[in-house]
Amino acid sequence: MPDAGQIDGRSLIRRRAGLRLWLSAGWLTLLATAALLAPWIAPKDPLAQDLFLGRLPPFWMAGAEPGYWLGTDSLGRDVLSRIIHGARVALMVALIAGTITCVIGATLGLLAGFLRGWVDMIISRLIDIWMAFPPVLFSILLIAVLGPGLTSIIIAIVVIDWTRFARVVRAEAMAQGAMDYVASARVAGRGRIGTMIREILPNVLPTIVVLLTLEMGIAVIVEAILSFVNLSISTDDPTWGGMIAEGRTSIHQAWWVLVFPLITLFLTVLSFSQLGEGLKDRFDPVLR
């Protein structure tokens, strides 16, 4: 009986964790550590102004002052320290808004995709209606009503972006629901919610993780955009978007004020999306 006994070569395939997973996780870990320890590791006070030290260039250029690694802005505030403190707001928004959006969106998507029927009808129509709102205007409107601040930003992100999760998870749950293993579980006597949690959820999870990390990246961007248009937290606290907005006015005299927060923002958003893809490759049992 040649077929029996072979646990064939499939079990031998083990993918390497991959460079992008390590790089993205590394950058985010670094950033998270810096954000957590900001008051202790930031070289200067991010709010301290010193007009005599305005527009100092970064350390490798002529005229740099020791201790001001990435230079200063027009008010003499240290760019590196402001980036480190800005990471606190960025990561907080990413984590909180990303997670809440994910939980709400994924739950609704799972219910709609697996239970179908009237539940699906209601949730799908809600998604359709929701997606007809222009997101940027919607978020600015929301913040105008709620007033600026961190909570408002988080609420705005959740309210706008839950459909992203709901749509994808719904489609995925629907596809999984048609599989024979779901039928077997039902025949064995598992209830609908039990089947959903035990059989469907683990198979949708890799997709949810990818979406979650993407959403965290998006949350960072949204926060930056809202800071840029001055709708985020008070202008005293450093944010990347706020720094970019300030740096814009002096781009010809002091490009570093704009460029360094921009690079940080770029790397962070890129890392979030690559982290998701990397995790999926690593942990999806079907790909593994």
Partner: protein, 288 residues
């Protein structure tokens, strides 16, 4: 009294055409009944109706499904689930989608026994090991720890067969269990199912479009056309002298491997026309 007795079962697409037209058939305890017909004849639909896993797009419009004397269709959903789970099981068609890719093999067999039937974990585990040995899987312990993607299609089908027999059901619905497999593996799997069925004395509703399979495993068969039972015979009688013209044509259409030059014989047009007329006459009778 027969263990499963389907009486005048009618199923249709919601607000659409009928899929099953007053189907009646019986499966005695320990009997193997074949259910044959061309694609779309409704053979899988019968199995799904019995197991309570009809897709949400279809509805049962009439009839009875008596399981051990109780009409399943009159039971509240929860009791129905429990009764089906305790006495029935499914061997699905496609072994590649019938095991949950996210769970190891062991829990997929045992969790149902533990969670739903209240077995102790250790009893369930030793039961799973015995069953895997019974379906001739070497190294059952290793297989129990494997994920489905690590195993070949034939192995997975063996596992599904083992899993179906796990709770000693009195009726198993086998929905084209060999269709998705290589011809070389098909024969082994058929032998295995037949052997298991005989040892455990389980009634089997064997859905297939392969009359060769029917002749090897079944004692009786029902021939379906367009959701109507056109013939219900013992297998020996059927192969000796099929009663219905459609059955005769179906039998004549079976390819003869011993005579490759003969080519394929389609079911003649006039037979199709005649059986269609029968269906139309049935529909015109106003009994849905």
């Amino acid at each position: 009294m027969s263990f499963l007795s389907i009486r005048n079962l009618s199923v249709r697409l919601k607000k659409g055409p009928p899929l099953l037209r007053r189907v009646s058939l019986d499966v005695q305890a320990g009997e193997v009944r074949g259910l044959v017909g061309e694609s779309g004849a409704g053979k899988s639909m019968i199995g799904k109706a019995v197991l309570g896993i009809l897709p949400p797009s279809v509805e049962i419009t009439g009839g009875e499904i008596l399981l051990d004397g109780t009409d399943l269709l009159r039971l509240p959903p929860k009791d129905r689930r429990r009764r089906i789970g305790a006495s029935c099981a499914l061997i699905p068609q496609d072994p590649l989608t019938a095991l949950n890719p996210s769970h190891r093999i062991g829990p997929q067999i045992t969790d149902r026994l533990v969670d739903i039937l209240g077995w102790s974990r250790s009893t369930a585990e030793s039961r799973a090991r015995d069953l895997l040995a019974e379906v001739q899987i070497p190294e059952p312990d290793r297989v129990l720890r494997a994920y489905p993607h690590e195993l070949s299609g034939g192995m997975r089908q063996r596992i599904l067969i083992a899993s179906a027999f796990a709770a000693e059901p009195r009726l198993i619905v086998a929905d084209e269990p060999t269709t998705a497999l290589d011809v070389t593996v098909q024969k082994q799997i058929l032998k295995l199912i037949a052997g298991m069925q005989a040892r455990h004395g389980t009634a089997l509703l064997f859905v297939t479009h392969d009359l060769g399979v029917v002749s090897k495993v079944c004692q009786n068969l029902s021939v379906l056309y367009s959701g109507m039972v056109v013939e219900d015979s013992a297998v020996t009688d059927f192969f000796a002298a099929p009663r219905h013209p459609y059955s005769r044509a179906l039998l004549a259409a079976t390819p003869k491997y011993t005579d490759p030059a003969a080519g394929l014989t389609p079911v003649p047009d006039e037979v199709i026309a005649a059986v269609r007329a029968e269906v139309a006459a049935f529909d015109a009778g106003g009994i849905a």
